[in-house]
């Protein structure tokens, strides 16, 4: 019984790390932390590895869809991963923060998703493996009404189709 409790606490700690990785700056940090020490023990083909270690999200400035230097690093890792896992396809979801009108944000989300898609293609990922969808402001990742949340919501998320979950 005690060991189960310990395990739950450990799981809680991992979840907390995962939650942190949604912050704009942290997917790259998470990759740096876990990349060296634990890589040998981790199955790198899983969805979890892609989401948490490669980093599935990139973030945009207000009203912008250009790829920042930091996003470029994440997308380069994504492209490497996709090029190493050819059975897996991806759908890129473009999102916007709540500080825009609904239809404009749909269009902005489409622009961001395309920006991610074309960068991945430029890194050698076959265009036929990538699709896009826009959610506009409909699916925020962080619910608060402040820049700390809005910066997490202006994002492109690369969703895997056909990757093993564990």
């Amino acid at each position: 019984m005690k060991s189960t409790l310990k395990f739950l606490i450990a799981a809680g700690a991992i979840l907390a790390v995962a939650a942190c990785s949604e912050e704009p700056a942290s997917p790259e940090a998470a990759a740096a932390n876990s990349g060296g020490s634990t890589a040998a023990a981790v199955d790198q083909s899983t969805l979890q590895y892609f989401q948490q270690t490669v980093g599935d999200s990139v973030f945009f400035a207000t009203n912008a869809s250009s790829i920042s230097p930091r996003a470029r690093q994440t997308l380069q890792r994504q492209a490497q991963w996709l090029n190493a896992n050819l059975a897996v396809n991806a759908q890129i979801a473009g999102h916007a923060d709540e500080r825009g009108t609904r239809e404009f944000n749909l269009a902005l989300g489409a622009r961001r998703a395309e920006s991610v898609r074309s960068f991945l293609v430029s890194q050698g990922v076959a265009a036929g493996r990538l699709s896009t969808i826009s959610y506009g402001k409909e699916r925020p990742a962080a619910p608060c009404s402040a820049e700390t949340c809005w910066s997490q919501n202006r994002r492109g998320v690369t969703g895997l189709v056909g990757a093993p979950t564990s």
């Binding site: 009108t101 609904r102 826009s134």
Partner: protein
């Protein structure tokens, strides 16, 4: 008296359009805008009695009278005279009132009604509208209907009173389709819902399993367009409220959205994303033929026709920020019309043709406003953390829109406001609601 009154009303409205607006911050963070200076006097209306031949009809008569009065007073243009002030007790539908008794209490209008159940089960409702100062009847109508539709009879009577007394078309016998919202902000369950403009007769049109957005009413038929994610990409669906038939409009590789009917209901303006870039197209409904109206690397979306079908208004960020442009409905070179401080979107042309309603974001707030079709005489009618998506009542005098409150527990709600800025109020909905679209007057 009626003509004098109309002239007075018109003058007051002009006055209201030109006065300065006072803006104050309220407790819930919303800006409250009061139009100062207009000495507006609502029309005083009395409803002495709705008669019946007893039984079920008595109940209907009383309820219909209440609906009429609620509509009129709810419009902000009418005031109900308390029954305790009445001098004359009208006792018979067929007897003319004693006008002097109504002049004495300054009744601008007086209406009576009568309800009767016919042998075939239908209800017959008669209604008379009197002008005490011109000492005569100015309107008389009768309606046959299924007793279950009694609320609509009330709305039609209210529309008749409104039209006679203001000289403008009514809007009470109409409905609003909107998006009912439940659940947490990050995973909202959205359902298409429709209700009478006064919030009654709520009905759900979709189950809530799929994300749906931005319903739009046909100006001609009982049809709506809306966006659904049910097949993956956001797509435009056409829903017939009478047959309940649904169909998807076109099958495009990327997102299709932002639909609006043409004034004749035969064409649909829509936005298509191609390679992530959004432009405006028009689809002929009968043939599904598509024609492209804009071609630029900027976002062009949220297009709306002028009521004569000759022009469209839309939003674009071609100049940097999101702004409003007017263009021939055939295409060509757009003219920017919004030049105020901030970003402008969701333009909707008034059914009267004289104004364009919009959403503006500026200084950390979102505002609902109207401007002339050349962009002049901008007037802000509401402002809050998020006020968005105006839709015109069929008479072009009232707008509905939604507000959303900030924070993790933020929720949207439906509001309406007169184009003078008066009578800002929240509409009754069962749950949180967004994206209202006003129907035309019901047939």
């Amino acid at each position: 008296m009626i003509t004098t009154f109309l002239r007075t009303l018109a003058a007051l409205m002009v006055a209201a359009l030109s006065v300065n607006q006072a803006v104050a911050q309220s407790e819930d963070g919303a800006l409250e805008i009061t139009v100062a200076g207009g000495e507006f006097q609502p029309i005083s209306v009395a409803s002495p009695a709705f008669f019946s031949d007893g039984g079920e009809a008595a109940n209907l008569a009383a309820q219909i009278r209440q609906v009429v009065m609620n509509d009129l007073v709810g419009s902000g243009l009418f005031r109900s005279i308390e029954e305790t002030a009445f001098i004359e007790q009208v006792v018979d539908f067929d007897v003319e009132p004693t006008y002097a008794d109504w002049q004495a209490i300054n009744a601008d209008a007086l209406f009576t009604g009568h309800a009767k159940i016919e042998p075939d089960g239908r209800v017959l409702v008669k209604f008379r509208l009197f002008d005490p100062f011109s000492e005569g009847q100015v309107e008389g109508l009768q309606f046959f209907s299924d007793p279950a539709d009694w609320r609509r009879i009330g709305h039609k009577i209210a529309d008749a009173v409104y039209a006679k007394m203001t000289g403008e078309g009514g809007y009470f016998d109409s409905r609003i389709v909107y998006v009912d919202e439940r659940g947490p902000k990050g995973n909202r369950q959205k359902r298409l819902a429709i209700m009478d403009q006064d919030g009654e007769n709520l009905r759900y049109l979709t189950s809530g399993g799929d994300l749906v957005l931005t319903p739009r009413f046909s100006p001609k038929d009982q049809e709506i367009l809306y966006i659904s994610y049910e097949r993956g990409q956001p797509q435009i669906f056409l829903y017939n409220l009478e047959t309940q038939q649904r169909e998807v409009l076109g099958n495009f590789p990327e997102m299709s959205f932002a639909p609006r009917f043409s004034p004749d209901g035969r064409q649909v303006l829509l936005s298509l994303a191609q390679g992530g870039n959004t432009d405006i197209w028009v689809m002929e409904l009968a043939t599904r033929k598509m024609r492209r109206l804009t071609q630029s690397p900027a976002i062009e979306t949220a297009a709306s026709y002028s009521p004569d079908g000759q022009q469209i208004v839309f939003e674009s960020d071609r100049g940097g920020g999101q702004q409003i442009y007017v263009m021939s409905a055939l295409g060509g070179s757009p003219q920017r019309i919004s030049f105020g401080q901030g970003r402008y979107g969701t333009p909707v042309w008034s059914p009267r043709g004289d104004m364009i309603a919009f959403t503006k974001s500026s200084g950390g707030q979102f505002q609902i406003g109207v401007m002339r079709t050349d962009g002049s005489e901008e007037r802000i009618l509401d402002a809050s953390f998020l006020s968005e998506g105006p839709t015109w009542a069929p008479n072009g005098r009232v707008l509905s829109f939604f507000r959303e409150t900030p924070g993790a527990n933020g929720r949207p709600s439906l509001w309406s406001v007169d184009i003078t800025g008066r009578n800002l109020k929240r509409l009754n909905t069962a749950n949180a609601g967004s994206d209202p679209a006003w129907s035309p007057l019901l047939p």
